[in-house]
């Protein structure tokens, strides 16, 4: 469609006479104008990543970016003497972006032509267009979520994490503990819904039902007192992972119905699915209800099936499921579990706050349960944390 611009996810900058005025190698005292600095900061706040492809010696050019106070905005800088098309290609590969999502800005027509020749899908802009970039539709995302605003920092954290992981030689669990992971589970506010919708769109791999819930439907469910929409976010000592999961729950008398659990592929290796399920099972145990979960097998969500099954969900019959009727979709399996107490995860700190009040029913009947609650209280009480 002509009026719907394909969004740019990463803009690659030339330095000399594009980002700054002057040529570094010719000894110019190069200057970064306030207007260009504003463009950099604005694109960053919209979640558009930025990188550099410059023909310069790496160290002095990078030091200059640092001194100008903008180095932190550029991921995977390519400063050297190879062809710029190769630089742009490497940046796109490293970010796993399609070339259609990448843009390149350079004052030299020959450089733009070289990139355009080898990477015809990359959009090229001249230095004269720099100040107008934020006004272009392809640089104006439809929604800017909290996760878009911190996208660049999430990528930077991930680069550091990956580097450390490849250098780590101990058992996986020890590495996970060294990350100081924190998971937060909370009720979705209006601000979270765009993040959640984005997540259900992008998480086919870890979506237990393979169903995409639209923003509109999620908003309705949020307003529906019979449903809880919970958002899961994670962080570690490298920085935030942002919103990594969504859980949709309907509370019925005697049993809770888990309608959707989707987690981001980014946190699969942290065992996030199992941690969330165990938390929910423990909550249901305290509330004295059974759990029913819908699962639809897709080609890509076997990991989630294993998480459900290993958590204890099975197809054993129970009065609560038979009374509930059969799922509308014949491909959907209705799994069932009688909750028991689950320990706090050993690899991360779990923080659960901001749940609807109706969500934390006090145990009424079992003394054993209330005793246990006291010792486990740190797991579910709200612990303020500024990392999430």
């Amino acid at each position: 469609m002509a009026d719907q611009a394909v969004p740019v996810k990463c803009l690659v900058w030339d330095l000399d006479n594009t980002l700054w005025r002057g040529t570094l190698l010719e000894g110019d005292d190069v200057r970064l104008s306030d207007a260009v600095r504003e463009v950099i900061v604005m694109l960053d706040s919209r979640g558009i990543l930025q990188s550099v492809a410059s023909k310069n010696d790496h160290d002095p050019a990078w030091r200059k970016l640092e001194r100008l106070g903008v180095a932190e905005y550029f991921l995977l800088p390519e400063i050297g003497w190879g062809p710029k098309s190769e630089s742009v290609r490497r940046i796109a590969d490293e970010l796993r972006f399609a070339h259609t999502a990448v843009a390149f800005v350079d004052d030299q027509p020959a450089e733009r032509a070289e990139v355009a020749f080898h990477l015809p899908e990359v959009r090229c802009y001249s230095h004269e267009q720099v100040l107008g970039l934020p006004g272009l539709p392809e640089f104006t995302p439809a929604t800017v979520t909290e996760d878009s605003r911190q996208r660049r920092r999430m990528y930077q954290a991930n680069f550091r994490r990956t580097a450390e992981q490849s250098a780590f030689t101990g058992p996986d669990e020890d590495f996970l503990r060294s990350l100081e992971l924190v998971m937060r589970i909370s009720g979705a506010g209006a601000d979270d819904l765009a993040r959640v919708e984005e997540l259900t769109l992008r998480t086919s791999q870890m979506n237990a039902t393979g169903v995409h819930y639209s923003d509109t439907v999620l908003r309705e469910l949020c307003a529906d007192p019979a449903h809880d929409v919970l958002v899961i976010s994670m962080a570690d000592r490298f920085g935030p992972h942002g919103a990594v999961g969504v859980l949709l729950l309907a509370r019925n008398a005697g049993f809770w119905h888990l309608k959707l659990l989707a987690t981001s592929c980014r946190v699969v290796s942290f065992g996030a699915g199992a941690v969330i399920l165990n938390w929910l099972i423990d909550q249901a145990f305290e509330a004295g209800v059974h759990l029913v979960a819908d699962f639809r097998q897709t080609e890509r969500n076997r990991m989630m099936e294993i998480a459900y099954r290993f958590a204890g969900f099975a197809t054993d019959p129970c009065a609560c499921t038979s009374a509930y009727g059969i799922p509308p979709d014949p491909d959907v399996q209705r799994l069932h579990l009688v909750p028991d107490h689950r320990n706090a995860p050993s690899t991360m700190r779990l923080v659960s706050e901001g749940l609807p009040t109706s969500w934390t029913p006090r145990p009424r009947h079992s003394r054993r349960v209330s005793e246990r609650r006291d010792e486990e209280d740190h797991v579910v009480t709200s612990t303020p944390t500024d990392t999430l």
Binding site: D172, L176, V268, A274, F310
Partner: protein, 91 residues
Amino acid sequence: MTTHQGPGTDSAIEETLKSYLVDRLKTEVTFDQDLFESGLVSSMFAMELVVHLEKTFEVSIVGNDLRLANFRSIRSMAALVRGLRDGDGRG
């Protein structure tokens, strides 16, 4: 499986699994050790374990067979594999 099997075959599956786990977990394990309880195997390793069993022993593990109890120890995994192979019309 072939028909030529020595007396050691009874624990052939266990031995195969053990060498895989020792290699993967970089530590010694026994046939009866609870791998999840001892913290050696975490949920994130579960997928790898399931896929490894399916590939190595040419079985497919689905439905209620995917329960955690079947993967707790080398012994229980071997029992699962044997059960699935017998069910596959070998007997």
